[in-house]
Symmetry: C2
Subunit: 344 residues, 2 copies
């Protein structure tokens, strides 16, 4: 099969790889129909040391089940399925409390002999716990929107849920990437009345307005924080979703939170140490969020896509075939594309 | 009047100060009966730069109302009252949601012309919102226990509440100081089934066992974390209360938290940057807690003291008169005393 492999910063290649086969009775083989490039793929794309071995890329995909191991129930060959961005048994104690990202028998795509999602086929471990059947045909126009259940939509939703967003709330979302915009969708869906989106790419923040953002703050740093405070009577907001991952973004998140507020963090931190000194304590700020247990949210969010209440498929602003995956990385890294859909 | 003033690290003096007078119609003058030294007083006692001006000390006290301003209702001269460790109007929007520590018209004792609590008299601003009447006489043997409502008991309770401690939980409490031991009382009171107390002072951890700790871990650092994980099937606990404030303590707190767990922080951070990098995100850890809105908890906790369900008065292991306050600081700084009661 053909699949995308990263060999170092800026070096993604689509090459021939062995076709995956069932290895465990809990495996399934999925023929990938749609995949995409994640904002988090851009961090290694920017900084990964060169290697001879390469790392299969991609953790968001949907497709058709080709074959299942003897212990896989729930999904069958021919089913159209989506995967959360990590695989999990969905039965261990972590999974049982909705934290499938920490599954005791789970893992990540592209590691430990498991294929990445940017390729023709993937062996999915713990298929019964991982894969979710989609009630559509493989040529459904809803497929791109349903692909966002794999990661970005669920990640944005995780931010809104862990921030405690509820009806009538005012929320700040930091970042106009696909996750930030998904957080706007999620906050709106949970009833937020006012959503302040911090981002400086006009086309993206315009999409954010379509999704439900009521205010846009293009300024960054101190100026951006002052602007959010101005918009909120001087205080900032009680719920903040940070969807970037830089040190500036987390500083901003604390800066726009009102005393007693919650900062929910979704962006992969590009720092090891952060601003949690006496100020945070005196102000009773909470830092929460994390890598989303996407599996926990798929069934809840899917109906809203199927009935058209939300349309996260609009996040994809470019579609390419698998062989052009390296161009997709480049386009996203250069901020030419918001999120690149790969049609296999 | 006589009151304690700190002039720098290790330099606390009891000296003559002007008797306070009503300045605002919302003020009350309280004759202090009991005060005490706080663990947080030890940070400036260790490090405050020398100054000519001095800083009146003490923020935990109870006493008898001597005089009230014209707008003060709710408390009257002769009432025995306790104060939370900050004053607040108890009516602003922050107070209304139980965050009196961030009151829009509140402040701290010993600052901005307000007396400290380690003295004979205190002018209490926003007296109506701040002071809580105690249904006991000024010679009640319950007075020391009731004094803990001013800070440590409410602070420990804040830790348990913000950590989300509920019936049946397993909780780790880091620190065997007065706040840590108060957190043990609070966690037990909220129904925790297993309370692992991390502390290495045997007399304190023994008191912790009396208060409800089921396990004591004397080791610190990596060894201590490994011990807690051993005690919990390898995982650590879902609720962690950090009651020290050092960098080691917060590192330990994250180290003993299970994925998806909550660290509630009570100790004043002696660091500006902390370990909130990618590991915290991947593990979905939450950092919460903060400076306690003691005022929000006093009415809830008081009945349990009055009926003897809890006895936080045992935290005081030394009683001194006001003039010996400097000895009290020394005894606590040298870990000779757990918490020093000052009988005025």
């Amino acid at each position: 099969m053909r699949a995308a492999v990263m060999y170092g910063a800026g070096d993604v290649r689509v090459e021939q790889r062995p076709d995956p086969r069932i290895q465990q009775p809990t495996d399934a083989i999925v023929r990938v129909v749609l995949s995409c490039v994640c904002g988090s793929d851009l961090w290694p794309y920017a900084a990964m040391p060169a290697t001879d071995q390469g790392r299969p890329m991609g953790h968001e995909f949907l497709g058709v089940v080709e074959e299942t191991g003897s212990e896989v129930t729930g999904v069958r060959p021919g089913d159209v399925v989506v995967t959360p961005f990590t695989w999990a048994d969905n039965t261990c104690d972590f999974c049982a409390k909705g934290l499938q990202i920490s599954c005791r028998h789970g893992g990540r795509y592209g590691l430990d002999g498991v294929d990445g999602g940017q390729g023709e086929y993937v062996r999915v471990p713990q298929a019964q716990g991982t894969l979710v059947r989609l009630p559509v045909a493989e040529d459904s126009p809803l497929l791109p929107a349903l692909l966002t259940l794999s990661d970005v939509l669920c990640t944005g939703h995780h931010g809104a849920v862990t921030a405690g967003v509820a009806r009538g709330d005012t929320v700040t979302v930091i970042g106009d990437g696909a996750v930030g915009l998904s957080a706007v969708i999620a906050a709106k869906r949970l009833g937020a009345e006012r959503i302040i989106l911090m981002g400086r790419h006009r086309d993206r923040t315009d999409l954010g307005r379509d999704f439900g953002a009521t205010d846009v703050v293009a300024e960054r740093g101190e100026e951006g924080m002052a602007r959010v405070r101005d918009l909120t009577g001087g205080d900032g907001t009680g719920k903040v979703i940070e969807a970037v991952g830089t040190r500036q973004a987390i500083d901003t998140a604390f800066g726009v939170a009102v005393d007693g507020g919650t900062v929910s963090r979704l962006g992969v931190p590009q720092y090891n140490e952060g601003p949690i000194g006496p100020g945070m304590l005196m102000r009773n700020l909470t830092l929460t969020g994390g890598a989303a247990p996407a599996r926990a949210y798929i069934e809840e969010l899917m109906p809203d896509i199927l009935d058209g209440s939300i349309d996260p498929g609009r996040l994809f602003d470019r579609t390419i075939p698998l062989d052009r995956t390296p161009d997709g990385y480049r386009a996203m890294a250069d901020r030419q594309a918001l999120k690149v859909l790969i049609r296999i």
